[in-house]
C-alpha cells in the first residue's frame, strides 16, 4: 500500500486542540448573544429577537450530530391559532398584463385571459424572515413566512371574483438558515395560467416581486359560459400556496413559506343559512370552518441567551427527521368546540411525511369523521372514517387536502376528543412521557385535542347531504390514442445518478419494461406536449421494490380522475407485466367515480390509470413527486399545454428528436404528432 500512509504525517488534531476550538465556539456564541441583547429591541416579557427596525436576527444553527431531541412541551396548553384572513389592498405600481420589468417585477409571460378576468381584488404577500413561537414552553423560532407570519394569512375569495396576489421577495440577502432566498409561489392546485402557476424554474431574486393572476373561474371556461365562468361541477374549495423553488422547496417550506387559499361559491358559501344551491356545510371561517395547516418539525435546545428555540436545520442535507407535530404553527394545541358540526380542512404541508388520522373519544374508542372533500374537491358521496369503515383511518399525503366534518353533538359537555396520528413515529412530549390521555391513545400520537365546552350558540348546520355534488362525466378517452406513462423510480448507483427520477414513455411500446432514460428535472426540457382542449389518459407507476416508498405524485393545472389502481403480484424493478396486475379497491376519496384529485399517492409497485382534460390555459406545467425531498432531487418533469396543432406538432417533433438523440425510442407515433 502506498499513498498517505507512507509519508510522515503531521500529527492529527489532538484532543486539547479540539477542546480549544469547542471553547472558542462557546465563547463566540456567548459574545454574539451579548451583541443581540445590547441591541435596541422591542421589549416583551420574553427576550425578543425582533429588532426595533423590524429586522430579525439570523438563527444560530445547532450542531447536526447528534441529531437533537426537541425540547419537551406541555400538551394541550396553547389554543389552536386561526390564521388571519389576508386583507385586500391596492397595489403600487398597479398590476400590468406584461411583466413590469422596469419597476422590479420578475420576468414572465404576459398574463393569459387578462381582459376577461381583470383582477377585482388584489393582495400583497411579502416573503420575509420573521419569528414564530411554536409552543408556550418555547422561545420564538426563526422562520421565513409570507408577511413574516407562519402560517401565512389565509386568502378567502369566491368564484367569479378574479384576484391577483403580488408575491414580494424580501428574504434576507444572506442568511444563516438553510433556506434559499429566491422563490416562486405555486397555488396548489389553482386553475391558472402558467406564468402565475409558480413553475419551479420561474424563481426570482430578493428585491423583485411577481404578480400571480388567479382567474377564480371553474375549469371549462372555454366550453361553459355563465357566471361564474366555467363548469361549476369543477369547484375547488381548499387550496394552499407554497414555495416551489426548484431544488429548494423542502427547505423553504420547512421554514414556513406556505398558507391556505379558500374559494367559495353558491354551493359552499361562507355562511350556513339556506341560500339557493348551498349544501350547507359548516362554513364560518375560523369559527365552524377551520383550516388545520399540518407540519412536521424538530427543534434545537432553547437558547435563553439569544432568546430563541430554533428549528433544527441541517445545512445541505435532506429536511431533517421529525419529533414534533404542529397544527397551525402550534405543537399539540387544544380547540374549544361546541356541540355541533365543524368542518376542518386538513392541509399536509409536509415536507416529506404523510399523515394517517383517526378520531378518538375520551374512552379511547374511535369516533366518526366524515370526509366531504379530497384535494379541495367535494366528493359525490361523503364517506365516513370510523372504527368500522374501510379503511378506518384517513391518509393525508404530502400536499393533499382532506376536508372532514366532525359532529361534536355526539359528545357531552366537558369531554375531550383526540385527533390521532397512526403511522409516523410518535412525537417526543417530555421525559417521563405523560400518561395516555385516553385508553389506547398514547400522548405522543395525539396531534391535537378538541374540548367540548358547551352547547352550540350558532344553530347547528343541517345534516350533511347524501350527495354533495354532481361530478362532471369522466372525460372520454380520445380514440386511437394510447395512454402515456410516467414512471417514478429511485435509481441507486446508476451511471445517470443516484437519484429520484421520472421517465415518460408511450405504453404501447413499453408495456412492461420501462426503457426510456430517467433524467433529472430541467426547466428547459419539455418531456410531453398536449393540446389545449384535449383529453389524455396517463399512467403513473412506482417501480420501487424495497419497502413501500410511496410517491405522492402531483399534477399541476388540472384535477384528474383515477380510473384504476393496480398492484404488481410479481414485484419488478423495471415494470409489471399486464398479467401480474391485481386491482386494488380504492377508498371513496380516491375512486374516480366519487372524487377528483390532484395528488395521486403511488406506493411501490402500484400503477394508477387516470384521465385528465387540459383546458383554458397554456404554458409550462409540472408533474412531480410531492415528497419535497424527492422533488428537490429532481423527481419532476415539465410538460406543456400548447395552443395550436401547428405548435403541438413542432413541440412533439422536437421531443422525439431529443429522445432519439439520447438513445431512447421516440415518444410519439406519426399519428400522435397531430
Amino acid at each position: 500500500m502506498s499513498g498517505p500512509q507512507d509519508k510522515k504525517r503531521k500529527p492529527k488534531k489532538t484532543k486539547a486542540e479540539f477542546e480549544l476550538s469547542r471553547r472558542t465556539m462557546l465563547k463566540l456564541t456567548a459574545a454574539a448573544g451579548a451583541g443581540t441583547v445590547l441591541s435596541p429591541m422591542i421589549l416583551t416579557s420574553r427576550k425578543s429577537t425582533v429588532l426595533a427596525d423590524g429586522t430579525v436576527t439570523e438563527p444560530f444553527l445547532c450542531p447536526a450530530t447528534p441529531v437533537p431531541q426537541s425540547p419537551p412541551h406541555t400538551p394541550f396548553v396553547d389554543d389552536l391559532p386561526i390564521p388571519s384572513p389576508a386583507f385586500p389592498q391596492l397595489l403600487s405600481p398597479a398590476p400590468t398584463e406584461a411583466a413590469n420589468i422596469a419597476n422590479g417585477e420578475a420576468a414572465r409571460d404576459p398574463h393569459q385571459r387578462w381582459a376577461e378576468f381583470t383582477p377585482a381584488v388584489t393582495y400583497q404577500l411579502e416573503a420575509k424572515a420573521g419569528t414564530h413561537q411554536f409552543h408556550r414552553d418555547y422561545l420564538p423560532s426563526y422562520i421565513w413566512g409570507f408577511n413574516g407570519q407562519y402560517p401565512a394569512p389565509t386568502i378567502l375569495n369566491a368564484y367569479g371574483i378574479p384576484s391577483l396576489v403580488r408575491f414580494k421577495n424580501s428574504l434576507p440577502t444572506t442568511t444563516s438558515s438553510f433556506g434559499t432566498n429566491t422563490t416562486t409561489v405555486h397555488l396548489h392546485n389553482g386553475h391558472t395560467g402558467s406564468e402565475s402557476d409558480g413553475f419551479a424554474g420561474d424563481f426570482f431574486a430578493t428585491g423583485l416581486f411577481k404578480d400571480n393572476h388567479y382567474a377564480n373561474a371553474y375549469a371549462g371556461i372555454d366550453a361553459f359560459g355563465g357566471f361564474p365562468k366555467g363548469d361549476s361541477r369543477e369547484g375547488q374549495y381548499t387550496m394552499w400556496f407554497h414555495d416551489h423553488m426548484m431544488a429548494e422547496t423542502a427547505n423553504n417550506n420547512y421554514l414556513g413559506m406556505n398558507g391556505a387559499y379558500f374559494l367559495y361559491d353558491d354551493k359552499c358559501p361562507p355562511w350556513e343559512f339556506n341560500t339557493p344551491g348551498s349544501i350547507r356545510l359548516p362554513a364560518y371561517f375560523g369559527v365552524t370552518d377551520i383550516p388545520l395547516v399540518l407540519a412536521f418539525k424538530r427543534f434545537c435546545a432553547t437558547d435563553t441567551v439569544r432568546g430563541r428555540t430554533e428549528m433544527f436545520q441541517v445545512v445541505n442535507a435532506a429536511a431533517p427527521g421529525t419529533d414534533k407535530f404542529t397544527v397551525n404553527g402550534k405543537i399539540q394545541p387544544k380547540l374549544s368546540v361546541r356541540r355541533r358540526k365543524y368542518r376542518f380542512r386538513l392541509i399536509n404541508t409536509g415536507v416529506v411525511l404523510n399523515w394517517n388520522f383517526s378520531l378518538h373519544g375520551p374512552d379511547g374508542a374511535q369516533k366518526t369523521m366524515t370526509v366531504v372533500a379530497a384535494d379541495g374537491n367535494l366528493l359525490r358521496t361523503p364517506a365516513d372514517v370510523s372504527a368500522t369503515s374501510i379503511p378506518n383511518t384517513l391518509e393525508v399525503h404530502v400536499a393533499s387536502r382532506m376536508d372532514v366534518v366532525i359532529d361534536f353533538s355526539q359528545f357531552s359537555v366537558g369531554q375531550s376528543v383526540y385527533l390521532k396520528e397512526n403511522t409516523q413515529t410518535a412525537q417526543f412530549v417530555a421525559t417521563p412521557t405523560p400518561p395516555d390521555p385516553a385508553p389506547g391513545v398514547p400522548i405522543g400520537t395525539v396531534v391535537m385535542r378538541f374540548d367540548v365546552v358547551g352547547n352550540t350558540i350558532i344553530p347547528d348546520s343541517p345534516p350533511i347531504p347524501s350527495t354533495l355534488t354532481e361530478l362532471p362525466p369522466i372525460p372520454p378517452a380520445a380514440p386511437g390514442v394510447d395512454p402515456f406513462e410516467w414512471g417514478f423510480r429511485f435509481i441507486p448507483g446508476q451511471a445517470d445518478g443516484n437519484n429520484f427520477r421520472v421517465s415518460h414513455s408511450a405504453v404501447a411500446e413499453n408495456n412492461a419494461n420501462h426503457t426510456a432514460t430517467f433524467l433529472p428535472f430541467d426547466p428547459f426540457r419539455v418531456d410531453h406536449a398536449v393540446l389545449k382542449g384535449s383529453t389524455e389518459e396517463w399512467i403513473i407507476r412506482n417501480d420501487t421494490l424495497a419497502g413501500n416508498w410511496l410517491h405522492p405524485v402531483h399534477i399541476h393545472l388540472e384535477e384528474g380522475r383515477i380510473l384504476e389502481r393496480t398492484v404488481c403480484t410479481v414485484p419488478s424493478a423495471t415494470g409489471c407485466l399486464p398479467a401480474n396486475r391485481t386491482p386494488v379497491t380504492m377508498p371513496p376519496w380516491e375512486d374516480g367515480n366519487n372524487a377528483r384529485r390532484d395528488v395521486y399517492p403511488v406506493p411501490g409497485q402500484h400503477r394508477l390509470r387516470i384521465r385528465l382534460a387540459f383546458r383554458d390555459f397554456v404554458g409550462r406545467y409540472l408533474i412531480h413527486c410531492h415528497n419535497m425531498n424527492h422533488e428537490d432531487a429532481f423527481m419532476m418533469v415539465r410538460w406543456d399545454v400548447v395552443e395550436s396543432m401547428a405548435e403541438l406538432r413542432k413541440r412533439r417533433e422536437q421531443i422525439n428528436a431529443e429522445r432519439v438523440a439520447r438513445g431512447d425510442a421516440p415518444l410519439y407515433r406519426k399519428e400522435d404528432l397531430g
Partner: protein, 226 residues
C-alpha cells in the same frame, strides 16, 4: 480555531442583527466551521498536505464531489461533466471558486493514482484539486457532508458519486446538485452560492431573462395572441 479567526468572526456579527455583507475569504458568522466540515489532514494529487477546513473551505466558494480512480460507472461521466463546468467557469477557477474531488477508496488511490485519473480525464486544471487521506477521515467527511440520513444510501460508498456539493463559507450557503443535470441547471445552482448580487445586477439579470422568455414565445408562436 485561531485567535485571529475568532476576532474576524466577531467583527462581522454586528449587533444590529443585519449580517454585514459577506466578504469572500472571511468565514460567515454562522459558518459551522471545522465542527461540521472537520479539519482532517488530507493529501492532494500534487502530494501536498492540506487541512480540510482551514486550507480548502474557510471563506471560499467551492464545488466538491466524490470519486475513485478505478470507477467505471458514474465517475467518468460525472468527471466529464465537471470538466464542462470548469470550462464554463474558467475565469473564476482557482481565484474565487475551487473544485475538489475526493476519493472514496483512499486505500487504493494515492496521490499518483489521482493525478493519472485527472490526467486521463483532462481534469488537471487550475483550481481543481483531487484529495485522498486517512480512510477514517474520508469516511467521516463523506458521512458529514454527503449524508442523507438514510441508512441504505449512506452506507453505500458508491451511492454519492453523483452529488456535487456547492459551498460558500463566506455566505454560509450550502447546496447540492446532480452533476448529470443539464449544464444550465448545474451552473444556475452554483450561482446560488455566489456572493450576493447588487440590486442593479439583479435587475439586469431579470431584464435579460425577460428577453429570453419573449424570444421563446416568438420562436414557438407561443401565446402571441395573448
Amino acid at each position: 480555531m485561531k485567535r485571529r479567526a475568532f476576532f474576524a468572526k466577531l467583527a462581522i456579527d454586528k449587533p444590529s442583527g443585519e449580517l454585514r455583507a459577506p466578504v469572500q475569504g472571511v468565514p460567515h458568522v454562522a459558518s459551522p466551521g471545522p465542527m461540521f466540515f472537520t479539519n482532517a489532514l488530507l493529501r492532494t494529487h500534487e502530494n501536498k498536505e492540506v487541512r480540510f477546513y482551514d486550507d480548502l473551505i474557510s471563506g471560499k466558494q467551492v464545488l466538491m464531489n466524490l470519486m475513485y480512480a478505478t470507477c467505471e460507472g458514474a465517475c467518468p461521466l460525472v468527471t466529464s461533466n465537471l470538466v464542462k463546468v470548469h470550462e464554463a467557469l474558467k475565469a473564476r477557477m482557482g481565484k474565487d471558486l475551487f473544485m475538489y474531488s475526493m476519493t472514496v477508496k483512499p486505500e487504493e488511490d494515492d496521490p499518483a493514482a489521482l493525478k493519472s485519473f485527472a490526467q486521463m480525464h483532462r481534469a488537471l486544471r487550475p483550481g481543481w484539486t483531487f484529495l485522498t487521506g486517512d480512510p477514517y477521515d474520508i469516511e467521516t467527511i463523506r458521512f458529514k457532508l454527503f449524508g442523507m440520513n438514510h441508512i441504505a444510501i449512506d452506507t453505500n460508498i458508491y451511492g454519492h458519486t453523483s452529488f456535487l456539493l456547492i459551498f460558500n463559507d463566506a455566505t454560509n450557503r450550502a447546496l447540492h446538485v446532480d452533476p448529470m443535470a443539464s449544464m444550465s441547471t448545474v451552473l444556475r445552482k452554483i450561482s446560488w452560492a455566489d456572493p450576493p448580487k447588487t440590486r442593479e445586477q439583479i435587475m439586469e439579470e431579470n431584464r435579460k431573462l425577460q428577453e429570453q422568455i419573449d424570444k421563446e414565445r416568438r420562436m414557438f408562436g407561443y401565446r402571441m395572441n395573448a
